[in-house]
């Protein structure tokens, strides 16, 4: 794997020298030039950075020219999501809806079973004894909100997704350790292999590499 990393890093620099025509297809696959996977679709270009500050600055600069920009960090970096254009965080809304559904469902169940379906007259006490219904209502409110957060979070993040083009990229295993990455996807209208490579390199990245849709 390490040798492939090195050739890919050099390969980008080599291919970056020649002007390339279409955005999505590169004439020479840098990872293994000459092999039969030259036709594997390009996912994007990945710039690697040493510090979170460098990544946030690079992300801000990239967003001015491109729309399809993703940033990857080993922990949550303050301001990074905003730098890549993340504005609407719907997690709180999902939590609220989950909590309301859980609480309303619990209260309705208790009211329906205790008043309508299975009324027990205990010394003339009211059937709809709402204070006694509060504990289960509270617990299921919490449960509903927690389940909504947990499952909503993965759903909105598009996970679980066990395979991803980025996992083919060199050094990307360090994204969960101490390296910071900026990916400009090939699907972006302004993406150009040559220009974008130069652009990423101009942001003082440690290295720039191509990301392929499938494992090379």
């Amino acid at each position: 794997m390490s040798t492939a990393d090195d050739t890919s890093g050099n390969g980008v620099r080599a291919s970056g020298a020649k002007p390339t025509g279409t955005a999505a297809r590169s004439p020479v696959d840098p990872v293994s030039a000459g092999d039969d996977d030259a036709h594997v679709r390009l996912y994007g270009l990945l710039g690697e950075f040493a510090t979170p500050n460098a990544l946030v600055q690079a992300a801000r600069a990239a967003r001015e020219r491109y729309k399809h920009v993703d940033a990857y960090a080993p922990y949550s970096v303050e301001g990074l999501a905003e730098a890549v254009g993340f504005t609407r965080n719907r997690v709180p809304l999902v939590a609220l809806l989950g909590g309301l559904a859980g609480g309303a469902g619990a209260y309705f169940l208790q009211w329906y079973t205790a008043v309508i379906d299975y009324p027990i007259d205990a010394g003339g006490r009211p059937l709809h004894s709402w204070p006694a219904f509060i504990p289960a209502t509270f617990e299921l409110t919490v449960l509903g909100a927690a389940l909504a957060i947990f499952f909503g979070l993965w759903l909105m993040n598009g996970l679980p997704r066990l395979n991803h083009p980025l996992f083919n990229a060199p050094d990307f295993d360090l994204a969960s350790r101490n390296r910071f990455f900026l990916c400009i996807r090939a699907s972006d209208a302004a993406f150009d292999l040559h220009d974008t490579t130069h652009f990423l390199r101009s942001l003082h990245s440690l290295r720039v590499s191509e990301v392929r849709e499938e494992a090379a």
Binding site: S76, V84, E139, V142, A145, R177, N178
Partner: protein
């Protein structure tokens, strides 16, 4: 409390990379330590004892225990209340201290959450075991059934199953959610194929994308906000199981706060008892520092004082209320057949922990380990005192009866401790005991030259 004090106790030599390597290598690289093997052997033996005790119980019924009338609740309920309480400190550390922006919690929240889950698992067993027909435990859950019956919603025992059930599920979700980025780290670091597949599946394909992190942070914080009132509600509901009863010594409005304070007290004790050997055995002294132990010891002292205050209020209430049965129950507690238990409670929970006022004691791991064990014993005896001493002498002297534990009572208690240790020892070998992603964030936040916001801006 101040965010400026996050200048981590970790020492300046740690970076995001070295911290990751050190914590991950405990799981991935470190050879099995003989102490772990010995501990695991003992824990496995006790777990087997628990399985034998449960099998024999299911075959014979609760008559194998020392329970009688009027002491129908004894060891099983004592174990239940004790174990749930131990779990509470884990949630308190991971959720409440997160909300209060206590950065030192970062080193200890992961294993404290694991402690919670395993303790609550042990707790959850106990009420099921003490049922006469344990195979019908699911009758507590409301579901349309052929008997056309619904649960009695006005009973704290029904609230209990909702509280405990919710607590188990939320604790597991919260713990697993926090684990996902760390599982991704293990996936990326290991070079062993089956570990890559195993950790890879559990990591759900986490790749640390900025938008994912933003949602993750919000979700984690909201989860903490939910878990904090939940933890209070759970032990309050557990205490209502008792205070809704008319038995003198149970029928008291002080029970919810009294039980919650005791729960946190025993939980901090267990956290210390687990942390001190763990940091020694796995070389984690740089992360779980003396400063962490001192903070936990302070919290133990504070909750211990709340517990001591509750004991005093119980005495005061009995005389202030003037109810002769309450006064008799109190006299019975401290001068009756269970007086040795009650005075042991005072010794373990009130007298000995006062040593924590001394800074030297709070900073001495050995002393804290001993005090943690003392408090755990004291809190178990306290639950026993409340449950058994009250039940054994209720209103009618003709029905008074003493409870004496049998071998199977003791086997169930010892077995549950063994099974808890069994799960915890597996946890420290297979999962990162300290949150790597949060530690990386903490390290970077502590570096002034990066100019990054501190963890307190996580919201």
């Amino acid at each position: 409390m101040s965010t400026g004090s996050i200048a981590t106790p970790l020492g300046p030599r740690y970076t995001g990379a070295s911290i990751t390597d050190k914590i991950a290598d405990v799981v991935l690289e470190r050879p099995v330590h003989w102490a772990w093997v010995v501990g695991f052997g003992i824990a496995t033996a006790l777990t087997l004892l628990l399985l034998v005790a449960i099998s024999y119980l299911f075959a014979k019924g609760v008559g194998i225990w020392g329970v009688n009338q009027p002491v129908a609740w004894a060891f099983a309920l004592t174990n239940f209340v004790w174990w749930v309480g131990i779990g509470h400190a884990g949630t308190f550390i991971s959720a409440f201290l997160l909300l209060l922006r206590q950065h030192w919690r970062t080193s200890i929240n992961r294993f404290a959450e694991a402690m919670t889950i395993f303790a609550v698992a042990m707790a959850g067993l106990m009420p099921i075991l003490h049922l006469g027909r344990p195979w019908f435990f699911y009758w507590l859950i409301p579901y349309p059934n052929v008997m056309n019956l619904w649960p009695q919603w006005r009973s704290p025992l029904v609230w209990d199953i909702f509280a405990i059930g919710t607590y188990v599920i939320v604790s597991i979700l919260f713990w697993y959610m926090g684990l996902v980025p760390d599982l991704a780290t293990l996936r990326d670091r290991t070079r062993v194929r089956w570990k890559q597949i195993g950790y890879g599946l559990l990591a759900l394909g986490w790749r640390g994308e900025a938008r994912h992190w933003a949602r993750f942070d919000t979700g984690y914080l909201l989860m903490a906000g939910l878990a904090t009132p939940l933890v209070i509600s759970v032990h309050s509901v557990v205490s209502l199981d008792f205070s809704f009863g008319l038995v003198p010594g149970w029928h008291s409005t002080i029970f919810p706060p009294y039980f919650v304070a005791g729960a946190l007290y025993s939980g901090f004790a267990m956290a210390l008892v687990l942390a001190i050997p763990m940091r020694a055995a796995f070389g984690l002294r740089d992360f779980i520092t003396t400063r962490h132990l001192e903070k936990m010891a302070t919290l133990m002292l504070v909750t211990g004082l709340l517990v001591a205050y509750s004991y005093l209020v119980e005495v005061f209430n009995a005389f202030f209320g003037g109810n002769r049965y309450d006064i008799a129950a109190l006299a019975n507690r401290y001068f009756g057949p269970y007086a040795p238990v009650s005075w042991s409670v005072v010794l373990c929970n009130v007298v000995l922990p006062q040593a924590l006022w001394l800074r030297a004691v709070r900073r001495h791991p050995g002393a804290l380990l001993v005090l943690g064990l003392v408090v755990l014993v004291g809190m178990w005896l306290e639950r026993f005192m409340i449950i058994v001493a009250s039940l054994s002498r209720d209103f009618l002297p003709s029905s008074w009866h003493i409870f004496e534990p049998t071998f199977w009572d003791l086997a169930t208690l010892a077995g549950s401790i063994g099974a808890f240790a069994f799960l915890f020892l597996l946890f420290v070998r297979f999962l990162p005991a300290i949150s790597m992603s949060e530690m990386r964030k903490l390290v970077h936040a502590a570096e002034p030259r990066t100019g990054l916001a501190t963890r307190s801006d996580l919201a």
